[in-house]
Symmetry: C2
Subunit: 439 residues, 2 copies
């Protein structure tokens, strides 16, 4: 029987999950791949901590990853260190040494992936990263294989479980962002420094990867327009709920008018839509493509076992290639050879078109509404709905407007004009409304 | 460049979709597989009808499928005829001739798959059938590849779009089954003879296939307990809705206590669950597995283009095998070699445990409720909720009971005892309540 000898680099949460899965399910993996998938090495700077896993004698625990990479008796390295420092150096070295690499590292792939793919190409090895994007969900496999005969039109992804958990809790409990974030940190759903998650950077890394595969473009993290959820207020969530919407942080990749737009933003989606139903720490990716139409993929975006499952799925693909004697890479990391990737024209943010939710704080006086609608008309922004519930002769009250589809340029100009009105206090709040275009 | 030469057998709706996709996206397929995927033959008994597709000179339209199968210049046959008659003969012949086969035919695979897989094994060719189950959704690929490192615990599938459309319409419009069925037939969502769909047979074919891959068992259509949706009434749908449930026809495959249960049944699922959100002609498959946890896959279950996308995804996998010079089958049709499949102990229907919705028609008289609850107690059926809304001194009124988890044996005995009461008219209606066990 052929064998695939595995080295795990980084023995933290995900590393532990992969180690456990390889040990617990060794028989199952052999039955399903026809190849012995055997753990040989684990490398971590900490070789002392008890991870609660009994390692068999056939597994060597090292504190020097270089030794593992240089070893003759390892075929594939799982990089589960994270970050773009030492992880990059080690992955590059492994590829150059002719080892296949499987990684869960979204930041590494999104920001250094082009260089790493070139190294994998040069060595004729697989570089796989299913676990990097939407955790256990096989979205990379689905785009790269199941939907590969389609032209992909749009991707909408709930790609960050921390943000989705926070937004769900804010809605269900009516609490402000800071309170829910603190709670999420205590429960281990958010990092001590939550920047990567709540500012949308993590979701943007993942969107970068999905967009490259979907649109055949090089990895282009800098092309993503990014906005996080810090400014989403409990008030806006309550309004959205009342109007039949949910607020979700979405990663959006779209083709429109021959251009590509990539953005991460909190948006309103219909409560009754499939993405509207995705709550808590779960992730989901909704894809529109020309033949398959609307498809969606749902599951846990993080965690020891779900992430391990995705890492191991990549190992299974490689093991099946080994068993079948296939020339590798059998599938290119971005779904097609690097030479065929090309950078599309990007759509500037201000040209992107959407409907908008606007929340103003206005004085409840005669003529104010007329002035506001006049400004909207002047900027050719047409109104889908307008709601004012509270009345007060002396205080500012919220006025919510839902517009038809307009460009961001139009809405920014409109809001700037409204902001100058004496009867308007505070900065108007604007959130895009995404029509998921189920087809 | 290597090539995969394709023959399409059956030029109906799905055949037309596959032909269009291969012609429209020839460049894209070549870019993504590194292999020229070229349509060579189409075979259909009707070569005269205009399908609105302009065929290039390189494609030969035949009315004799045998000629295509025997041809030296075709590598893979797409069987899109349907049924288990001529389709079986032709697929078997193609496999014996050493051609790969891709089919969308669920009935064929569910009822003759073991024989066909043996023929494919003997010839060393691929037999693939992604399009057979849940249309465009890559559920077979996901089970066979993405989740292959997991032990699968449970599958819950909305596998029949016709039934889901009918149930959705009944709920939204408050109409009876027959009315909605007639409307669905007129719209082309239901066949003139709707038996296969509404009696659950089509869903059972699909469940058979999913269960084999998930549980490593031979295809065992006869092991599925099947109940359709003809007896689902608008009244039950209204009650379910009021209690926060949706009624869905689910294909259910579960492991419990070392046994496997396979059934197709209308069941109540929570309105807020992911499957509860799947409406109209869409399909979805929810999978619980040990490492990945809960995952779900959603998309169109039928239609020219969605089904074509699934057929072409199988062609893409084969083309990538050809390009990589892989020994085939690279992945066995049921996810592991036939010799390793084994039949589990099946759980008899009467031993299956679930909560139940019961709707009785009772006289609103003193003592009736006490008598009913006494019968429930006697059969050790504990009550989660009990609702009687209407009051009438003379007529029978509905009484709805939701039980805790019990065996089907218990509930059948209970209902038989209740039915004998003088104060109960009509046959009590019972529907299982599925706890989807999100984890």
């Amino acid at each position: 029987m052929k064998a695939l000898r595995v080295g795990v680099m980084g023995y933290g949460t995900v590393g532990r999950g992969v180690v456990r899965m390889l040990l617990d399910h060794a028989d199952l993996l052999e039955a399903r791949t026809g190849c012995a998938v055997t753990l040989r090495y684990i490398a971590d700077h900490n070789t002392e901590s008890d991870r609660g896993v009994v390692l068999p004698e056939t597994v060597t625990l090292l504190n020097d990853a270089h030794k593992m990479i240089e070893s003759e008796d390892v075929d594939v390295i799982c990089e589960l260190i994270g970050g773009t420092g030492i992880a990059k150096t080690l992955v590059l070295k492994a590829l150059q040494q002719g080892k296949h690499v499987v990684t869960a590292n979204k930041a590494l792939i999104a920001t250094h992936g082009n260089e790493l793919i070139a190294a994998a190409d040069a060595s004729g090895v697989e570089l796989m990263f299913e676990a990097s994007t939407a955790g256990t969900i096989p979205i990379i496999k689905s785009l790269r294989e199941a939907l590969a005969g389609n032209e992909i039109r749009e991707i909408y992804g709930i790609l960050n479980g921390t943000c989705n958990y926070i937004l769900t809790e804010m809605r269900e409990k009516g609490l402000p962002f800071e309170t829910v974030l603190a709670d999420a940190q205590q429960k281990g759903y958010a990092e001590a420094d939550p920047t990567f998650d709540v500012d949308g950077i993590d979701a943007a890394h993942k969107l970068t990867i999905l967009a490259s595969i979907a649109f055949g473009m090089p990895l282009s993290f800098d092309a993503v327009s990014v906005e996080g959820i810090r400014h989403v207020s409990a008030v806006d969530i309550a309004w959205a709920t009342e109007m039949g919407y949910r607020i979700k942080l979405l990663g959006i990749a779209k083709r429109c008018d021959g251009k590509v737009q990539l953005r991460v933003q909190p948006v309103l989606v219909e409560e009754e839509s499939m993405l509207g139903a995705v709550e808590g720490v779960f992730n989901a990716v909704f894809v529109n493509s020309d033949f398959a139409g609307s498809t969606m993929y749902y599951g846990r975006g993080a965690g020891e076992e779900p992430t391990a499952s995705a890492v191991v799925s990549d190992l299974i693909d490689i093991a099946r290639n080994v068993q079948a004697g296939a020339k590798m890479p059998r599938i290119y990391p971005l779904g097609q050879p690097t030479a065929q990737l090309s950078m599309p024209t990007m759509c500037p943010v201000e040209e992107m078109r959407d409907a908008y939710y606007l929340r103003l704080s206005v004085l409840d006086r005669p003529g104010v509404l007329a002035d506001i609608t006049a400004i909207l008309k002047e900027h050719r922004v047409s109104i889908d709905a307008i709601v004012q519930k509270e009345r007060s002769p002396v205080e500012h009250v919220p006025l919510v407007i839902v517009t038809h589809e307009v460009t961001e340029r139009q809405i920014l100009d409109t809001v700037a004009a409204i902001e100058k009105m004496d009867s308007v206090s505070d900065k108007p709040r604007m959130i895009r409304i995404e029509d998921l275009g189920v087809a």
